[in-house]
């Protein structure tokens, strides 16, 4: 598993889900399973921008594109623009 994926999973488990014992992997549905609320997606999106070094423009992402960690990375690859350093 790439390091960036691990970083995302760790962030989601420790900062968003915050329920002991809950396991999250690349394919765990997050919003559609009720594990996280869509209001938390903005934090996840920011983290995703950080981890991937991209800027993800408004209006190009739907909550369903963020339902699993794997989907998040493919979304970032699809619509993310390299961030200006």
């Amino acid at each position: 598993m790439p390091e960036t994926t691990e970083q995302m999973i760790e962030y989601i488990v420790e900062e968003i889900v915050r329920r002991p014992g809950v396991k999250v992997d690349e394919d765990t549905p997050l919003v559609s399973s009720g594990l996280i609320d869509s209001l938390a997606l903005v934090d996840i999106l920011l983290k995703l921008e950080d981890v991937t070094g991209t800027h993800i423009p408004a209006g190009k992402v739907q909550p369903k594109d963020m339902d699993t960690v794997r989907l998040m990375f493919s979304t970032a690859a699809r619509v993310g623009k390299p961030r200006k350093k």
Binding site: V17, G34, P57, A58, G59, Q62
Partner: protein, 597 residues
């Protein structure tokens, strides 16, 4: 006694008459129907703008909008829609949805907008709901957008009477035959009241009721023809439909919209849009004030300008002083005026607003400090000094609009004196006459001409303070969730003891709204070894049926839940027991580290 009628309003009302109505007074509404109001708009004035990103903005003026509506009307007429028929619209936020709504009114038909399904919805549940609503509305047409997912639709059965059609852009070159003059007393549209069981609760509103209401509301908002409304509110909810579509349509002011999901993912775009379009008015629920303050991460060096905002109105959830203060301190550096944060108490059943705070008072809605101990013990709001450690702050939602009165009654239906905490009953001259085709629900909600809101609150000097929903209702980000709906879903799990489930709402100050907490007993103690899997099953089920997340689930061994003498789970006692056992539910101790610096 206890009727906070319009007494306190008289002085205020005098002031209202002195407002500057210079250019033209949009709330002197000389129209008999909504159709007449829309088609009387100045054709070249901007109306609706849909913002989906800097490079994706659609805009129409009133002339283009009515032309679009006429084209759609021709198409709907070809599909068999005629005067008096109902049509269900299920389309994403945007101009095509609004034009289809206007098209239906052009034909004298009755539109009803339903929520556009999100990906959390279970297809089977969705189809069942759609079938039930269509049958109750006796809908002639159900219109979906071009991209509505087919897998969600499956083989939905709508009955012989109803027909499914897809929105088609520029579908017809024919001209529609407009309906002959409509009687103002006829139903103009049906708006569905919020909540998960709300799907069946359609409120039918006549042209005259809606126009009457807007004629009351517009002066309370000091509406001017150069106002511009900002909105991310969905059009299937009264705040989005009435305040951000029907009001601008009838009073001829522009509205700039974005979709709720775009806003949730990029909350700072709201600041961007308000700055760019110089918006003056907007409505958002309480949680959004916290959410924006903490999560609208401005681009570095972004130069927002919020000085155009006259009123950003806190509506749909109890108004919290801390939420307003947090918003103000986060954004005053962008020119937000001290008077810009306002409040209102509104619901579909009275068309929209029951109260509105006075916009011409410098520091926003009235605040009162009450002795929280007396408040809890005796259910009476007794003013206290703000320095008193027992003092708790409540924010008024404003005074009643003209033509509207409220009463606060005890559990036995007795009127309470000023400050008494009880259920809020409402009467207005633009109130619902009943739920559409649901006399059973109407009988529950209307008592001697008063609408029983189910909201708890008190009145002081004519100011209405809404404290919460009647004891058990959970409000998650403006959505009403009935605990028994949650409990029923959880109970149906094979390893959960049926009926031994309690769901309640817990205010999470970090989110500015409630979260659902579920406590459930498993059948056998050894089932607890499986608890993570069971919890996840339950989350899936609750989210799939109600569309809200259920992060906080607690499985307990048999006989853990406290029962009342009647043998039913006692919600409040069980809640206390759970909170005592799980200190992590004290959200203050849960502050996230470094997420919002």
């Amino acid at each position: 006694m206890g009727i906070s009628d319009l007494k306190g309003l008289s002085s205020n009302r005098d002031r209202r008459h002195s407002f500057d109505l210079s250019s033209h007074s949009p709330f002197d509404l000389p129209y008999k129907t909504l159709r007449e109001a829309l088609w009387a708009a100045p054709r070249d004035k901007p109306f609706a703008t849909m913002w989906q990103g800097e490079d994706d903005v659609q805009s129409v003026n009133f002339g283009e909008f009515t032309a679009l509506a006429e084209t759609q009307a021709a198409y709907l007429q070809q599909q068999g829609l005629s005067a008096g028929d109902t049509i269900v619209l299920i389309m994403p936020q945007g101009i095509p949805l609004m034009a289809s709504f206007a098209a239906a009114m052009y034909l004298g038909a009755i539109p009803a907008i339903l929520a556009y399904p999100n990906f959390k919805v279970e297809p089977a549940k969705y189809r069942a709901g759609l079938t039930a609503v269509t049958a109750n509305l006796k809908a002639r047409l159900v219109m979906l957008d071009e991209e509505f997912p087919q897998e969600l639709l499956g083989h939905v059965t709508l009955g012989e009477f109803s027909k499914l059609v897809r929105y088609e852009k520029g579908a017809s070159r024919e001209r529609a035959q407009p309906a002959p003059t409509t009687d103002p007393a006829e139903v103009a549209f049906i708006q569905h009241s919020a909540g998960t069981t709300g799907l069946q609760k359609g409120v039918a509103l006549s042209h005259s009721a809606v126009l009457q209401h807007l004629a009351r509301l517009a002066p309370a908002l000091m509406l001017r023809s150069d106002d511009r409304i900002y909105s991310w509110l969905p059009l299937y909810h009264d705040m989005g439909l009435i305040a951000c579509f029907i009001l601008p349509m009838v009073c001829h002011v522009p509205v700039i919209m974005q979709s709720p999901t775009d806003w949730v993912l990029q909350p700072a775009t709201m600041l961007q849009i308000i700055s760019e379009y110089r918006c003056t008015l907007g409505w958002i629920p309480n949680f959004a004030f916290n959410f924006l303050a903490r999560r609208a991460h401005p681009e570095t060096g972004a130069a927002y300008d919020l000085s155009s905002v006259r009123a950003l109105i806190n509506c749909a959830e109890p108004v919290r002083a801390s939420s307003l203060d947090e918003f103000r301190s986060a954004f005053s550096r962008y020119g937000l005026r001290a008077s810009a944060l306002q409040s209102s108490y509104a619901m579909a059943e009275t068309v929209f607003a029951v109260t509105q705070s006075a916009l011409d008072v410098a520091n926003g809605p009235v605040r009162v400090w009450v002795d929280s101990e007396i408040f809890r013990r005796e259910c009476t709001a007794v003013p206290a000094e703000s320095s008193n450690p027992r003092a708790a702050c409540y924010v008024s939602s404003g005074k009643c609009l003209p033509g509207t009165s409220v009463r606060v009654v005890s559990e036995t239906g007795q009127d309470l004196p000023d400050g008494g905490l009880g259920e809020i009953l409402i009467q207005s001259d633009s109130m619902l006459s009943g739920y559409y085709n649901r006399p059973d629900l109407t009988a529950q909600a209307l008592r001697d001409g008063w609408y029983c809101s189910g909201d708890l609150g008190f009145v002081l000097d004519g100011e209405v303070f809404v404290v919460g929903r009647q004891k058990d209702l959970i409000i998650v980000a403006g959505e009403n969730i009935h605990p028994h709906d949650v409990e029923e879903i959880v109970s149906s799990h094979p390893l959960i003891h049926e009926g031994r489930v309690v769901a309640f709402g817990l205010h999470n100050p970090e989110l500015g709204t409630q979260e659902i907490v579920i406590v459930a007993e498993v059948l056998e103690e050894e089932n607890l070894t499986n608890s993570l899997a069971i919890e996840q099953d339950l989350r899936n089920a609750v989210t799939g049926e109600l569309g809200v997340s259920a992060r906080l689930i607690y499985l307990k061994p048999p006989r853990w839940i406290v029962k009342s003498t009647a043998g039913k789970p006692a919600r409040s006692t069980t809640r206390e027991k759970l909170l005592a056992e799980h200190s992590e539910l004290e959200f203050d101790s849960l502050k996230k580290k470094g997420v919002h610096a």
